[in-house]
Symmetry: C3
Subunit: 218 residues, 3 copies
């Protein structure tokens, strides 16, 4: 029952939108790294599907959705083709891409948490796995591109916190038995708006205390 | 039945040859990176077994073949020992290593696709997983060595395309119900020859369009 | 039966100690890499739980212990908080951290080997997986921090060999049917002392033969 937060076709369409925008971010990084057309496709696939793949391996949902639903596999390829031919135009719409990426982040942290709970994980673990679903693809993207994951860098706007908030709202809704289309929609929107605000106001997470003095010692 | 493309012992021997040459490439990179003897062994194991390990986790074949067949585990160690003592000689035979590596590529894309289909994946997913089987170990090798995966770089001869062709031939043969030792042998040889030709003629995949102008803007 | 090397509560406490010290090493690297508070938490979690997660995926123990036992998940967060506020003090106790890390190494290679054997793997594979349990988290930590894994570098004191020795002792004890709390405790202590000695005497593994002449050629 938990599965059916939205009608299946609505859920599936939302998934594909999230996958598409995540794939765009992977393909754009591949272009910046000067990869060839195949590298663009690989980075698009990994960014879009990596988080969900990790979640499915952990909860034992094999074969993962990424390999059992053809749409999940083909959507990133479409994003790769688009970026291959039109990347200057796509980069110029970076703001729009960022907005969609924020939507994907909100969506995936909610569906990831729900799916993990459906497979029997506890509430805390489910929320952690929802977070991993939302941010895992981006981490894999950066590892393959041989860069420090932007998720971990202090000089990037908050990315994990919105996903943590979204996943936590879902976990609390499950805890109090009020998870439905409305409340999970609220969780998606909360994470989405928080990420937009973080980008707009350049919110950042603190580094370790005494960092400055420690750096001076070096 | 699909499993039995070749007699089991022939299949197993071919697997070990592919694992051995992949392990050689991993061990040689470890020597170039100045790793110690243990780093050489780890990189040999990861390069040789990483692709198959990923495939087995995805299709739910646990424990993976890499951990249930002792020969799969020991073969990379033999390659590591060989490279440890004789690496200048092995590097001098780089051309021969490349030819064997091409054979491993052809073999693994075919057996990977077949095994994935046997475990119930669709044709497209099976071909994708066949490709991942063939190239996954090399990607893991480069990630562990902290280098940009050579699979993704535009300045390397085509590596993925031969594996894609081999996997696609197998998928088409399954689709039209004509997969047997002859047709899958043909797929192996096609991928093998294509990779040899790519190395000989330095075929490369294109980068994103307008790359030059985009680079000039930077 | 093999599971019950120690009483469950003793075993669990030892696990948490190992997880805690591994998490400290991850959090300290995150501080050195200038990551934000979230990056510190992620690196603490990955370092502490990565090896066991890999083992559990390979043997098909899903969901992995890291996601089914809340203590496993929360302990690294405590380590992250400690390092966040007190990292200069923690770094000053680096020697103590190293001693605990050696204890974690000894413990995890033993419990990893035992658990893998319990799940039906062969003796060699079990020992290999015990080694992977002990060192896997550190490798993932370095990959995420975009550094060459210190496990693979020749200029670091022996780290893998103590774990190999501990795992091998366990495998031999299983082989000769003498595995019990005493013998597995002996394996833990052997790996622990070997690692301490390697740090004290700066034991290192050899690089490939002829390395110097090969380097001169470059």
């Amino acid at each position: 029952m938990l599965h059916e937060l939205f009608t299946p076709s609505v859920q599936h369409s939302l998934d594909l939108v999230g996958i598409f925008v995540f794939a765009i971010s992977g393909a754009l990084l591949a272009v910046r790294k000067n990869f060839d057309v195949f590298g663009i496709a690989v980075l698009a696939e990994v960014t879009a599907l990596g988080g969900g793949l990790f979640r499915d391996l952990i909860i034992g949902a094999v074969p993962p959705a990424a390999f059992s639903d053809l749409g999940y596999f083909i959507t990133p390829l479409l994003a790769a083709v688009l970026v291959f031919f039109l990347h200057p135009e796509v980069e110029r719409t970076q703001r729009a891409v960022n907005v969609f990426d924020a939507a994907g982040l909100g969506l995936f942290c909610v569906t990831g948490t729900t799916k993990a709970y459906d497979y029997g994980l506890g509430l805390t673990s489910s929320a952690a796995l929802g977070l991993a679903t939302a941010v895992g693809g981006g981490v894999l993207r950066d590892v393959l591109a041989n860069e420090v994951p932007s998720l971990l860098r202090w000089d990037r706007d908050l990315y994990a916190v919105p996903a943590i908030v979204g996943a936590t709202i879902v976990a609390l809704c499950i805890r109090f038995d009020i998870l439905n289309a409305a409340t999970s929609g609220f969780a998606v929107v909360a994470a989405f708006l928080l990420r937009l605000a973080a980008m707009h106001y350049h919110w950042r997470a603190p580094r370790a205390w005494n960092r400055r003095s420690a750096a001076a010692e070096e």
